[in-house]
Subunit: 471 residues, 2 copies
Amino acid sequence: MPADGSEAISRPDESVIQDLVEELQKTFGDRISTALPTREFHARDFSFHELVPADAVVMARSTEEVVEVVKACAKRNIPIIPFGTGTSAEGHLAALHGGICLDVSEMNNVLEVNAEDMDVTVEPGVTRKQLNEYLRDTGLFFPIDPGADASIGGMASTRASGTNAVRYGTMRENVLSLEVVTSDGRVIRTARRARKSSSGYDLTKLFVGSEGTLGIVTKVTLKLFGIPEAISSAVVSFDTLKGAVDAVIASIQWGIPMARIELLDDVQMDALNKYSNLDYPVQPTLFLEFHGTDAGVKEQAERMGEVCEEYGGGNFSWTSDAEERDKLWAARHDAAYACIALRPGCAVMATDVCVPVSRLVECILETKKDIEEAGIIAPIVGHVGDGNFHVGLLIHPDTREEDLRVCIKINEKLVERAIAMDGTCTGEHGVGQGKIKYLKAEHGEALDVMRTIKVALDPQNIMNPGKMIKI
Amino acid sequence: MPADGSEAISRPDESVIQDLVEELQKTFGDRISTALPTREFHARDFSFHELVPADAVVMARSTEEVVEVVKACAKRNIPIIPFGTGTSAEGHLAALHGGICLDVSEMNNVLEVNAEDMDVTVEPGVTRKQLNEYLRDTGLFFPIDPGADASIGGMASTRASGTNAVRYGTMRENVLSLEVVTSDGRVIRTARRARKSSSGYDLTKLFVGSEGTLGIVTKVTLKLFGIPEAISSAVVSFDTLKGAVDAVIASIQWGIPMARIELLDDVQMDALNKYSNLDYPVQPTLFLEFHGTDAGVKEQAERMGEVCEEYGGGNFSWTSDAEERDKLWAARHDAAYACIALRPGCAVMATDVCVPVSRLVECILETKKDIEEAGIIAPIVGHVGDGNFHVGLLIHPDTREEDLRVCIKINEKLVERAIAMDGTCTGEHGVGQGKIKYLKAEHGEALDVMRTIKVALDPQNIMNPGKMIKI
């Protein structure tokens, strides 16, 4: 059983797997593998969850090949777990009931850029950095940045977001359409390329965030944005966490259209200073970014400076210098490494609650109390404009059982607290195995409606079973 | 059969209806009616579709009462058609298989404003103007404006949008959560109040736009926005339609964050001049609105002026004067009346395709050719930033059959054209009865997936049957 007790592990009959592998070998040749290192590589993600490899890994290069794998598996009731870059965060890749890991990382072509329509269609294995590299000369960019260089298919499947969702939205708002292979091997397109539609049920949004449990994403059409004429960044420290969050709330109400609003607590700032050899004040700190025209970002930064001063923010300094800006955001992106550096060798259990922003201070402060009481060190970073924050809980291999016991307890209390505040157990990482047990408390009877949909669209329960929705 | 041949009309047994009405009378007393004028009033919408009244109208005042109606109907296999303000546009209210019209217009309380979180929860009968009136002193507003003073429940159910979707999004982007009574009378909440979530399937987006075919909306939580510090408006005429649309495309790529970008063709401008006693040039014209800071709207307007000039826009004039601005938008909102005034007594068949904006000019020009060939007058208005436009096709009662023949043909060609351009048959009005026949062409096999969902969530087919998805 996985560490968090989500679901008992089972395996299909070896003979059925052997038969399946033999059938698929005719098409895939050496692109199908049962070698343990390959299977283990494809079961690993960014989480602390136990490694549970699939029975075989298949490397698909086209929608037709995905259909072939799905049909071969459906015929035999064998699970399929899609794989992009292995950067998911809740044990999404574990083959809890064995089966095939379907690697789409070689489906990595940018298929069509429509500059006038500001959209792009890509295969699911394209990563976000690859996409932005490709777009470089078009004046357009894809803003969603979850930190890791995740695949677009994976980001769509987990409804990912990251540091600039407050301005540009999450994958929920930015996927225009998907091509999906359903559990019985049909190929559907969830929507057309029009920006708006009132035609039929919103299948795009149903599949976005469904974590491979309803079908396999084989194409993604995304909204793009014009690269801003000017970008400026700012750092500002506050005496109190409350001051920092209140400044953000006020700025949003004032309509200052910030692109990034990141909160780092005193513990995280201390860790950052040590890891990146910096000398920021060890205080609750906001990292900010402004996008717009030259005059616009200047105005935004100045106004935000005034707001911050009102809420006890000191040393507000902003810059449009690209090098300084890159340094700042590199430090922010190093937060996870800085966290691990506090106790080298650890895996991170990153909590992921998201609450209405009016409850954020209370939620963070109560959690910090739990952390102190447990006698551990756990930095906090937050996408504070969205009410989403992560506590970096460290799990060391040498003390795994004890660490898990302590950290799971903190996370559980945190999730309960967030749900009581009308929040969610996961703002951007997804459910995977790790959050399944909280869904009933969060969704109540709506969870049964989700289960009805899962059963209707995947009656054999072969699409990434054991994740998100328990059958 | 309705005029567009969508579905044959049928009626439940009279004795079953009588039994149902008697049961409901115990709770609803004189809030249930079988009087023909009441039934007819509740079957009427803003469309040309035939009036098909329900067997009875029930006025519900609470979620519990909605549950009671749904359970009483489910027990007897009787259809339920929800009613808000009767401003839908595709025959959504027609009781094609008889049953109960469930009027929620008296469920019109604003339940909770969370100013810090910039959200509000309302009952479904609250109208958008009522909501903004209520919010007036909070500094916040709800931006979505479909023209009519529609109910929030109805707007959610049709995935409505309107003139400022280009900046603020549609109901798809602005509904945070719904309370829904399912076809078997369960009460679910589709999401919590957190701004982001990766927890479970996106039921909110599934129910938004489902037109009462999956359940009855009983509460809606909406995002709100800060009232902009400054608003300015502009009007600019172009020699060609292409110039107007190209200017819009360029402005979006430049990142000018306009709040409204409305296109009116020469025919519509002529109609407006006559109806509202104005003297605009009879040319393709953009009506624009800018929201932001004082300096921001000035900069936006000036930049847009430059862009328009580059694309042949003449006489660009902008104003921050509230009175002038109101006059401008009143004229825009009068477009439908101005259209009807061309031939008094007519109903309007408003087409509603939405295409990728790169194809918009071609789509409009080919449609204008069809209109000319048919020898009719039909003005065009468009939410050009989204690629969505409406042709006002006039149906006169005296020549209904002939008008329908001509207009349906134009609409059919237009929808085919839009779909061929990777667009949709309906950008914001919804499917109702009028667009059912186009869904197969638009969605292909995805329509079967929608049907699977409909059957799973409404196995008796009692939720607004005959609309959107044919069973």
